[in-house]
């Protein structure tokens, strides 16, 4: 897994208290038992930290998709999500 995955997983763990060991690229937010309120809270963190536009993530998004959004935002191409 990439350094960026590790970084995003750490943010998720810090924000919502999810055990980092179960945060893999293929797992979805629903599978991590992250409800809609918690997902919005995490989306605000991604927006503040990386400039990921809000409302891009859904409960069925995977962590890999979230990492791709972060990578795209860093490259200034946030629209070109995976």
């Amino acid at each position: 897994m990439s350094d960026l995955h590790d970084e995003v997983a750490q943010r998720l763990s810090d924000t919502l208290g999810i055990d980092k060991s179960i945060i893999t690229p293929d797992v979805t937010f629903v599978e991590l038992r992250i409800d809609s309120l918690a997902l919005v809270e995490f989306s605000v963190v991604l927006d503040e930290e990386y400039g990921v536009p809000p409302l891009e993530l859904t409960p069925d998004s995977t962590i890999g998709e979230a990492v791709a959004l972060v990578a795209a935002a860093r490259n200034g191409t946030a629209e070109a999500t995976s």
Binding site: S13, L16, G17, L37, V40, E48, P54
Partner: protein, 409 residues
């Protein structure tokens, strides 16, 4: 009025600026050192000190997955509730949750999150406002969290009478038990004044001590040089059961809630009635409720916040009601003012004092105010007492008052 049956206190849970748990709290009460200190959270504000709960690690105590969504006051409430239930020897996994009530006193909405969220509003970044903005503003959510955590399916209530909230919750929980609405009542108060918005707000009212640079000397109830209260935080939770049922299950009993009195000043929205008619009514009602006379009271844990008007009015009231001048202590000199939690914390302190037959001393009482000259204030060191009944008073903005008569086991 004939006395109501006493209700047993079978569990105590405490999170306060003196520490977490009964032993740390009692040690802090006897040590007699104010918990007030400069706080980096309040850096740059006109009043940059408060009484914070030391070493409170909500992540470790509750788990991060639960702690993240709770404001600090709710974290403290939950920790204290779990403590109290464990202390009572009760197990939520096996009790009949439909017969368990929760009544929590919370004075004001949590304001710790305001700074960050209001910046988003000001910048019109509504898409960055936390989805927990409203839940974190609701004063009833901590009671709901306790109910959920303890599988308590009975009445779950939040009561707000400002700084009397914790004591009012104990009284109402007692009444739920005596009315038969529940068999176990988990009651108390929780609030955190450790917040930039709260510090600024009370500071603008002129309610806070401004002894910046000497915070440990700032909380001075009944002292001639007092200049306002010091913000505190915490949670005090009591488990109440009908005394005969507590005895029947062999529960260890800390003491009893023997009497409760509630009243309104009906005078002014923040200024206490200088004649103390409302506070006197609450006190006399609590005595009558317990079937006692004033002379039965062996010590008083005063509301004593260290405001000019409040202490003066309370001293006059206590002098009128208790001509035998029982020992009086004001533990906010140690803990600061935990607002809606204070009445519950002080009820628990009073029960501990009754159990140990020792009344903690009031700190920073160097020169007793002339208005309190008739009181027998406990100073310098704890005082041993023999009487088994005590009074704890709590008065809130809004002129809402509560008094509890508590007795030893």
């Amino acid at each position: 009025m004939s006395a109501r049956p006493a209700v047993a206190v079978t569990g105590l849970g405490l999170v306060s600026p003196l520490g977490t748990g009964l032993d740390a709290t009692w040690a802090g009460l006897l040590a007699g050192v104010s918990a007030a200190a400069t706080d980096s959270l309040l850096e740059g504000l006109p009043v940059d000190f408060c009484c914070a709960v030391p070493d409170f690690d909500a992540d470790a105590l509750l788990g991060r997955a639960l702690a993240w969504r709770l404001e600090p006051y709710a974290q403290m409430a939950l920790v204290a509730a779990r403590q109290a239930v464990a202390d009572a020897g009760l197990d939520p996994a096996s009790w009949d949750g439909a017969r368990v009530a929760v009544v929590l006193g919370v004075g004001g909405t949590s304001t710790r999150h305001f700074d960050k969220q209001f910046k988003q509003f000001a910048a019109e970044r509504h898409d960055r406002v936390s989805p927990l903005f409203i839940p974190r503003c609701l004063t009833n959510l901590a009671a709901g969290e306790i109910s959920g955590d303890l599988r308590a399916f009975g009445p779950s209530l939040s009561v707000s009478t400002a700084c009397a909230s914790g004591a009012t919750a104990i009284g109402l929980g007692r009444d739920l038990l005596l009315s038969g609405s529940c068999d176990i009542a988990v009651v108390g108060g929780a609030e955190s004044g450790r917040s930039r918005a709260t510090s600024v707000g009370f500071s603008r009212m002129g309610a806070l001590s401004t002894r910046v640079g000497a915070p440990a000397e700032a909380s001075r109830p009944f002292d001639a040089d007092r200049d306002g209260f010091v913000l505190g935080e915490g949670a005090g939770i009591l488990v109440l059961e009908r005394a005969d049922e507590a005895r029947a299950r062999g529960a260890r009993v800390h003491g009893h809630v023997a009497g409760f009195g509630a009243s309104a000043d009906a005078y002014h929205f923040t200024t206490p009635d200088p004649e103390g008619r409302g506070t006197e009514l609450a006190t006399r009602t609590a005595l009558a409720d317990a079937g006692m006379t004033a002379s039965d009271i062996g010590h008083v844990n005063a509301h004593g916040t260290a405001t000019q008007l409040g202490d003066e009015a309370e001293a006059a009231m206590l002098g009128r009601v208790f001509p035998h001048a029982p020992p009086v202590t004001a533990t906010k000199s140690l803990t600061g003012h935990a607002l809606g939690a204070s009445g519950a914390l002080e009820a628990a302190f009073t029960l501990l004092a009754l159990a140990h037959r020792r009344v903690p001393a009031t700190a920073n009482l160097d020169r007793v105010d002339a208005a309190a000259g008739e009181l027998d204030l406990v100073v310098d060191k704890p005082r041993d007492v023999t009487a088994g009944a005590a009074l704890s008073t709590s008065f809130g903005f809004g002129g809402q008052n509560a008094a509890l008569v508590l007795t030893a086991a």
